[in-house]
């Protein structure tokens, strides 16, 4: 798709930042989130979870729980479909353990009772006999020769011979001759890095209300990033036809990738079917940490060669990611994104997907990319430091541009990395003086973005207003963006448009709100649906004027004759056409269904100032600037919010957040008091610069913005902290104990 669809006269609504349509509901408590659903006769569900990191399930006795007054149903793995293969099989195994509990918190049974208290009491009455097995939670330990084997059948054909069975997938890509490249370099640095697993940290826990009858017809209300995938997965796991399960997405209190799959939803459905009553399950915070999907922890080796003038001669990376007890750690994205910002003649990247006794990892904003960027950009920073080169100049010298052969293979289309670097160099932040004890770091970051299956429907009302049904849950302001794009096409005020997240019975399949795809793909579909409606509006006007359909065009919310030959008619406003539409051919609506394939990739550059207290190891981020290519910012305020959110989560990942497992393989910090996410008082005002290099694959030039913003922070902060501390930090998070240890080791 080319930009020729774009209005030559520019935008009237797009690029403005009107009030968000969900604002009043959210500040007054009227918005209905996952836990806000109720049904007559509703039961409360609770889940029995393994206290062991790795154990064979010898026996489950549910009789005492079933005998407790108020208990209406107990389910175990036997209440789900047998024999599922592939990803559905992994999801089922994660949702309800079969022969083995594979991590601390793994579900082994569930109960439904007339109150939450009774359900929790009943959980304690379910007797589970375990045979405890050796466990492993560290990625390097899980790959070692003598590591406990979780499952010896998970490895696919990509894994070279000789690896431990816990290595389940392997990636190898690149081009050129890295050895020759390293030989050309004036300086080669080789270093190793680790990052710990972090959780997306969404404030709203997983919650759902399910109803499934003996006739195989069900209803599900849940907090999710994608209710069609929830529908498809749940139907498969409980053995009903997909179309017999209607799923409605609630308002969502954060997802960031963690709500792209199911955990409690199939359990609630199975309990409901058994009890013949609706069942609601709301996870506790501890359950969210123990049993949903954090990101992978990593172990990485990076080697980069550079000439004295800053030219990178070769780059090599090994990325080992543990993804919990099932295949799927996003190591291929670590590998493919790691060196993408740079034009490299010689590059080689290897990825390992490793299973361990931890919960199944889930996506987290640009999955796999932030960790890889941390390692690569740290080495580039060190090279710049040792060669006394400006870190932005070096990145500009090596930057990927349109036509550059990407580190992952193909040539880039039009991209905006250079523009973000030039904006960074020109930004007052970059030249501002630093206080004693402070350091400055910069980093670039890359993410692919995604299109995905999309279906949008738009209906006009008699009074000239418009309602739009989209299928992508609003996790980042998409209702406002859709309304702005429709306003642009229809020529009616933003306030006259209401956007609703439709349920699965209302539209065709919609892919999940992930991959930074919503403003791109649902936006493109909204534009096309609006154009579809505009065509019908023009046709009605033509019929009324008695002129050919193609002699009418649409401008500023009115049908107009296309010239003197078409006739002398006053412009006919949208509301005038819709007022009589029931008597002039029927309701007017617009539709669009497609899988758009033009999601443009995106780059960002971040600048960070940090200071370190050498006595306590406490770090403070004192100034932060995000510069990112948005293609075209539909609602700039929301775009800035995405940039700031990515930076804030990155600060937590870099400085404090980590899953801490004890020697017994149990998670030690499963509440927010012990798992330290940054709060407002931890953060400086995060400044933003929106760069707009249009994506040729979208009518308005939109690129996704939701994920790229979390790619550079880990490295940018690590570079700033390393500069402030005078020692290279190679292990995230850079918590006070790690900083103190590094300072002590430095001597």
């Amino acid at each position: 798709m080319a930009l020729d669809d774009q209005k030559p006269s520019g935008f009237k609504f797009v690029g403005t930042s009107p009030d968000r349509p969900d604002g009043l509901d959210k500040v007054t408590g009227r918005a209905r989130f996952g836990a806000d659903a109720y049904a007559p006769g509703m039961l409360h569900g609770a889940v029995v979870r393994s206290p062991h990191a790795h154990a064979r399930i010898v026996r489950i006795d549910t009789s005492k729980a079933e005998a407790l007054e108020g208990v209406k149903a107990v389910v175990t793995r036997a209440d789900f479909v047998d024999g599922l293969q592939g990803e559905f099989g992994f999801v089922l195994e994660n949702v309800m353990a079969g022969e083995k509990a594979l991590y601390d918190g793994h579900a082994v049974a569930a109960v439904a009772a007339s109150s939450q208290l009774i359900a929790r009491d009943a959980v304690k009455l379910v007797e589970v006999e375990y045979e405890v097995l050796p466990h492993v939670t560290d990625v390097d330990a899980a790959m070692a020769e003598n590591a406990p084997v979780l499952n010896d059948s998970y490895a696919d054909a990509s894994v070279p011979a000789g690896h431990h069975p816990n290595v389940v997938r392997y990636h190898d890509s690149g081009h050129g001759d890295v050895d020759a490249g390293f030989a050309e370099a004036d300086l080669v640095i080789e270093d190793s890095f680790k990052t710990e697993a972090t959780h997306q940290g969404y404030i709203e826990p997983h919650a759902c209300l399910a109803s499934l009858g003996g006739d195989g017809k069900g209803e599900l209300w849940c907090t999710t990033q994608g209710h069609w995938i929830a529908q498809k997965t749940c139907a498969a796991l409980v053995g009903i036809d997909t179309s017999q399960l209607r799923v409605t997405a609630s308002e969502i209190g954060g997802g960031f990738g963690g709500k792209t799959t199911v955990f409690i939803e199939p359990v609630a459905l199975a309990l409901s079917r058994k009890a013949n009553r609706p069942v609601k399950i709301v996870m506790t915070r501890s359950e969210v940490f123990r049993a949903t999907g954090p990101t992978s922890s990593t172990s990485m080796d990076i080697k980069i060669g550079m000439k004295k003038d800053g030219t990178i001669t070769a780059a090599q990376g090994i990325f080992r990611l543990q993804g919990g007890a099932f295949p799927g750690a996003p190591m291929e994205f670590s590998a493919m994104c790691a060196f993408a910002p740079y034009s490299l003649t010689n590059v080689h990247q290897v990825g390992y997907d490793v299973i361990s006794n931890r919960p199944k990892q889930a996506a987290y904003r640009a999955p796999g990319a932030p960790m890889a960027s941390f390692a690569v950009e740290s080495v580039i920073d060190e090279l710049c430091s040792q060669l006394d080169l400006d870190p932005i100049d070096v990145r500009l010298k090596n930057a990927s541009r349109e036509g550059t052969k990407a580190s992952y293979g193909p040539k880039f289309e039009r991209i905006g990395l250079v523009e973000t670097l030039e904006a960074a160099k020109a930004h007052p932040h970059y030249s501002a003086p630093l206080e004693p004890g402070q350091g400055r770091g910069i980093s670039c970051g890359f993410w692919f973005n995604h299109g995905g299956e999309t279906s949008v429907s738009l209906a006009l009302s008699e009074d000239g207003t418009c309602q739009i049904s989209v299928g992508t849950p609003d996790i980042g302001g998409s209702r406002a963006s859709m309304a702005l794009m429709a306003a642009e096409e229809l020529g009616i005020p933003y306030e006259n448009i209401r956007v609703t997240i439709a349920d699965t019975a209302t539209l065709g399949y919609n892919d999940v709100s992930h991959g930074s795809r919503v403003t791109y793909a649902s936006g493109l579909a909204t534009i096309k649906a609006a154009k579809d409606a505009v065509g019908k509006l023009c046709k009605r006007a033509a019929a009324k004027w008695g002129i050919p359909e193609d002699a009418v065009y649409w401008e500023d919310g009115c049908a107009k004759p296309s010239g003197a030959n078409a006739g002398n008619f006053d412009p006919m406003p949208l509301a005038k056409i819709t007022k009589s539409m029931g008597r002039s051919g029927g309701p007017i609506s617009g539709h669009f269904e497609a899988t758009p394939e033009g999601a443009g990739v995106s780059f960002g550059t971040h600048i960070v100032d940090a200071e370190v207290d050498p006595e306590t190891g406490k770090t403070a981020v004192v100034r932060y600037t995000v510069i990112q290519d948005a293609g075209k910012a539909i609602h700039p305020s929301y775009v800035e919010g995405q940039f700031q959110g990515g930076a804030a989560q990155g600060i937590g990942w870099a400085l404090n957040e980590e899953y801490i497992y004890g020697e017994d393989g149990r998670l030690q910090n499963s509440i927010f008091l012990d798992y330290r996410v940054p709060v407002a008082s931890d953060l400086p005002m995060i400044d933003t610069v929106i760069v707009e290099v249009p994506n040729p694959g979208h009518p308005y030039g939109v690129r996704g913005v939701g994920e790229t913003g979390i790619v550079p922070p880990l490295a940018a902060i690590a570079n700033a902290v390393s500069a402030a501390a005078g020692v290279r930090l190679r292990h995230l998070p850079m918590s006070p104990p790690r900083i103190l240890r590094a300072l002590k080791d430095k001597g």
Binding site: D156, D172, T260, K411
Partner: protein, 81 residues
């Protein structure tokens, strides 16, 4: 014939080749031809791949046109958070 560049990890499944040629005019035909000519690639393709055509990444579509003029790369399936 269309030239398809593979990521290097797939060489073990194509007898050491990192670039292969198949007869195809759409992305769907290309994937089918790859599976036919190199059966060991079939599980990889079945588990999900994307295709870059002159730098434009086609995440899933089987109907995009391809020709000998295009630079084509097989990539691992894109997804996100």
């Amino acid at each position: 014939m269309v030239k398809v560049h593979l990521w290097s990890g797939l060489r073990t499944l194509t007898g050491g080749l990192e670039c292969v040629e198949v007869e195809a005019s759409t992305t769907g035909q290309l994937l089918a031809a790859l599976s036919l000519s190199y059966p060991e690639l079939e599980p990889v393709i079945e588990s999900g791949v994307s295709i870059a055509i002159d730098g434009r990444i086609i995440a899933t579509s089987l109907t995009e046109p391809v020709s000998a003029e295009n630079e084509i790369f097989l990539m691992q399936r894109l997804k996100g958070g």
